[in-house]
């Protein structure tokens, strides 16, 4: 469980996160949704300890994330950032190996190699493991980066818009694979509400830096909630047993 108390963050005179109080359950997929500029990525960065708040605490893994050493934090959560730095000549296997860095600090053991092999298998990257990351398509690259986060073997995986610019095939592929990670808790920023509706167990709706709604998806999300959150008429409906969100 992640316990967020009175989290406030200001930047350049404006309040980006305003007195956030949350208790985020572990296990399953927790989606952070909300309009552009609502503070979704900032919240994720702050929960991960990457942005220090002006006030408030984030309790995760038995301590305040902002008081943890980098190395300890890296054993509690892995983080997939929105944009990935390009490292020329880096192979997919080497990229995934970086996920083990917090554990081996550059000197991998047999156990580390076994975990890297498992990540490659689980994300179906065997055929690509020798390829350079820069030569992969957007979807393949994203799969490789998520495999790296998985190889970090942390109880929490934080993913900041991992589906941005992906086509429906890769979107479904990645969400199905994330769904299959039963032993991990996943906190994910999503823009596609239909994807969130079908895959999230829990949801945090952010608006103007404050929590608009939070809870189990089926309990808190309705057409009215979504319309109010995004300030446009939206309808939550079902087509052939798939939830979908349409204008309306």
């Amino acid at each position: 469980m992640i316990t967020v108390s009175n989290l406030t963050l200001r930047r350049g005179g404006s309040t980006v996160l305003d007195q956030i109080d949350l208790q985020i359950p572990d296990k399953g997929i927790v989606a952070i949704i909300g309009p552009n500029g609502a503070g979704k990525s900032t919240l994720l960065h702050s929960l991960a300890g990457l942005q220090k708040p002006d006030s408030g605490t984030v309790e995760i893994g038995g301590g305040d994330i902002h008081n943890m050493k980098e190395q300890d934090r890296a054993k509690v959560l892995s983080f997939l950032t929105q944009s990935q730095g390009a490292v020329p000549r880096l192979s997919v296997r080497d990229l995934i190996s970086f996920g083990r860095w917090p554990h081996h600090r550059g000197r991998p053991t047999a156990e580390d190699r076994a975990i890297i092999d498992d990540a490659i298998d689980r994300f179906d990257l065997n055929a690509l493991e020798s390829r350079e990351v820069e030569s992969l398509s957007g979807g393949q690259k994203q799969r490789a980066y998520i495999a790296m986060a998985y190889a970090q073997s942390t109880p929490w995986m934080f993913l900041d818009e991992p589906l941005a610019a992906l086509d429906p095939k890769y979107t479904r592929d990645i969400m199905d694979r994330l769904r299959g990670l039963k032993d991990r808790s996943i906190l994910i920023v999503l823009h596609d509400l239909s994807v969130a509706a079908n895959h999230a167990d829990w949801v945090i709706g952010l608006k103007g830096g404050s929590v608009h709604c939070a809870g189990a998806w089926d309990e808190v999300i309705t057409s009215e909630t979504l319309s109010d959150l995004y300030e446009v008429r939206l309808r939550l409906t079902e087509v052939e047993n798939q939830k979908t969100v349409i204008w309306g």
Partner: protein
Amino acid sequence: MAKRRLTYLALILIGVSAFFLFWNLRGPVGFILNLRAEKLATLIFVGAASGAATIVFQTVASNRLLTPGIVGFDALFIFIQTMAVMALGSAGFATLPALPKFLTETAVLTLFATALFGILFRTGARDVVRMILTGVILGTLLRALAGFAQRLLAPSEFAVLQQSLVASFNVIDDELIAPAGIALCVALAVCLWMARGLDVASLGRDKARTLGLHYDRFVFLALIVVSVMVSVSTALVGPVIFLGLLAASLAHAALKDHRHLVLIPAAALIGATILVTGQTAFERVFGLQSSLAIVVEFAGGLLFLALVLRRSS
């Protein structure tokens, strides 16, 4: 694969070094060998330090176009030399004891570089345009101040100053080689010790932090090491800005590898090989009719332009 290529690079350096030492050896062999060995050590130290420092600097700056010298090292060196001549006069400057002068210059350059890199990286940072602009502005300011001061010098003082401003591998005080060598070897060893961390740092600040690297502290340490290497080299032979860029680019091309554990030694070997080969050619083929530093800077400058144009296209 990478190990084999490193071995080839080491063999090439050994080969050109042997050629430099033993080719056309006549007269008092012991005396000439001693002279050549001192010059060879200087060339290897400076070349290796420039190559390794550039690889480390490019990683922490997340940009392969950069070289630590681009932020105005040459201008500061010119400024320090000019101020020294102005304060001490040509006779005083020429008779300065070599070791204290070298240590003072190294300390000033290191302090300047560490402060500048620290400020640039803390205030937003890995922005290549801002860094180059800052370097250009600071360089212009220091050059203008030095130029103004040079106008006040007597012709004899100006002549002494001119001699000290161009990088030279021909006249090295033997008293300086050992301390410079020790400092550069220690810095190189620290670079290799940091190599695995540099691999992680190359992923970017946020990614590196989430992998457990204390990024800001790590980068600051890396910048101190870079500052020491560039400062010692500059104080030893004078400013050589683009040698590191040449060595780093050739190391990337030769190894095709992202690991700093092989990139750093490769750039060091290539940097040393460029200088030893160039000096051999100038001394033995062209009869010292030109300056190695000028040619290296010309080639490195062309490479810099080519890289900028390739990236912008």
